[in-house]
């Protein structure tokens, strides 16, 4: 056994080399974010000569990152909550309620959504969003348009995962609830949802990260500067500041830090949540 452990040193060197190569660009960008444009070129590898937050201040002011992040947080959370609520309700209905035929039809219909890539539908979706009016207000260029569309495209995988979980809950718990006088919605809110929390947390993370990072739809549906989400806002900033690396690095670092901070604390849950869709699918 000792010999086997000793034989592992080269594997560690290989893996550490790979990890260093993958993470170094981020470290390099972090160091660049404190340098001036001139210093990035002249002193590429060294530590910044002084830690000034000028780039951060400049990027914060010109890139509106705070505003974009707030927009992203609102759209992402609203879409996630809506998705989970609808998906859990539907999964409950088709996994626990006694309408066998309809259940199967609804389930298969929803699974169709896993086959069609939303990428093929941008043009009709765009026309649709432009054409819809809700309570006399156009839906185009509102956060609601993103929330509804994100929710719709997250539904198939969310129903798929929650449905599988709910199907595995034993009947006894429900029967106890029914004896206590609960109706269908009581069973749903008081028994099935609390038990299904692990699956719900998993899909919450999956959807949260997907929505937070979504770029194309947000770029198609949102035209107002003040409504942009973080990825589209960053892309706009990138177009305007392509040569100003100092500000650009600071802006990128600012947009990454919150994500990495959350990742540090919730690694296990995030990895599990993000890979859940593909393993089970």
């Amino acid at each position: 056994m000792a010999r086997l452990r000793n034989g592992q040193w080269w594997m560690h060197i290989l893996l550490l080399g790979y990890v260093a190569a993958v993470l170094f660009p981020l470290v390099w960008l972090f160091m660049s974010s404190f340098k001036s444009n001139r210093e990035i070129t002249a002193n590429t590898w060294g530590l910044p000569t002084r830690f000034s937050f000028e780039n951060y201040a400049a990027a914060w002011e010109s890139a509106n990152i705070g505003k974009y992040a707030l927009n992203s947080a609102y759209v992402t959370l609203a879409a996630c909550v809506l998705t989970l609520l609808f998906a859990a309700m539907t999964s409950f209905a088709i996994s626990r309620m006694k309408y066998t035929r309809t259940n199967k039809a609804v389930y298969l219909f929803i699974l169709l959504g896993l086959i069609v890539p939303p990428g093929a539908l941008f043009i009709p979706l765009y026309r649709l969003i432009q054409g819809i009016e809700l309570f006399g207000q156009p839906l185009y260029n509102t956060h609601l348009s993103l929330i509804l569309v994100y929710c719709t495209y997250a539904l198939p995988i969310t129903v798929f995962i929650i449905y599988a979980f709910m199907l595995s809950i034993p009947n006894e718990l429900e029967e106890a609830g029914i004896i206590d006088g609960l109706g269908a919605s009581g069973l749903f809110f008081r028994i099935i949802v609390p038990i299904s929390l692990p699956a719900i947390v998993t899909v919450f993370i999956l959807n949260f990260i997907g929505n937070w990072n979504e770029y194309i739809l947000s770029q198609l549906f949102i035209t107002s500067e003040s409504l942009k989400t973080l990825p589209t806002g960053m892309a706009t900033f990138n177009d305007g500041y392509r040569t100003n690396f100092a500000s650009l690095s600071a802006a990128v670092i600012m947009s990454i830090i919150p994500v990495l901070a959350v990742y540090v604390f919730l690694q296990r849950q995030i990895i599990e949540g993000m890979t859940a869709g593909s393993v089970k699918g």
């Binding site: 452990r5 592992q8 594997m11 560690h12 290989l14 893996l15 790979y18 990890v19 993958v22 960008l29 990035i40 070129t41 590429t44 609808f86 309700m89 539907t90 409950f92 209905a93 088709i94 309620m97 309408y99 609804v106 959504g113 069609v116 890539p117 990428g119 093929a120 539908l121 941008f122 043009i123 009709p124 979706l125 026309r127 649709l128 509804l148 929710c151 719709t152 539904l155 429900e174 029914i178 109706g183 269908a184 749903f188 937070w212 990072n213 770029y215 194309i216 198609l220 589209t232 892309a235 690396f245 990128v252 994500v259 990742y263 690694q267 995030i270 990895i271 993000m274 593909s278 393993v279």
Partner: protein
Amino acid sequence: MNKALKNPFTYIAFIVPTLALYAVFFVYPVIVSFYYGFFKWDGITDKVFTGLDNFARLWNDEVFRKALANNFYFMAFSLVVNIPLVFLLSIIISKVGRMRDFYKSAVFVPVVISTATVAILFGVLYNYDSGMINQFIRLVAPDDWAREWLSDPKLAMLSILIANAWQNIGFFIVLCLAAILNIPKEIVEAAKIDGVNGWQETWTITLPLVRPILFVMLLLTVSGTMKVLDIVQIMTNGGPFQSTEVMSTYMLKVGFRSMELGYGSAIGVAMFILILVLTGMLQLMTRREEVQY
């Protein structure tokens, strides 16, 4: 007892929101994208029915062919470079005892960063004068080996593929590692008693038993590379000289820049059918590949 779970009002209230959203934002766009595909339409004047003209045009469109070829290049690169690398790294991670969780968390870091941010990050890294990559080349090799990575038609696609690999490999490693660690210990131990050594174990036990995850990775790679969009659009938007054009960037250009909504929809339909056919073929090929322990 069936009564509580046979309440039609609750049932309808519980499934209608999902089905309504689904019908409006999913089913309807799918149907009209096929429908639009048969028309010449600029979005403003009346649609003109042209039958299969859009699809015939697609067949002869040089740019579309170029885009399709680039999608296949994307797929081939991911299959030939990314997936073997994923296997190699996951097998090594599964073999080391200590620090396994550290490696797993570290390789996953790029996965949580948004594709838009990754594209911008690599735009900075690839810059000619001060980008990290050229600066590194100047450090270890003659100065004139530095390249205009994203504006050289010969290198732009490769540069995007590297950025894409940087972001995605970690995701696949985690999938693959989970599958490897899932192999029952008894099988590995039985093989060891039979005198199988470390790398034989990899060939004879690990690889055959993780075939289902290989299938998942192939599926994700094929559909992912056929519809790839964000990273290309932000890094080069198909340029220079359409050397990095892919189907979806071309679709958006045709649809929104040239306002040819009918033709754009036809490209979307072609993309959808292509993905369906390719993933369907994969599924047929691996149908009998159920692994039993």
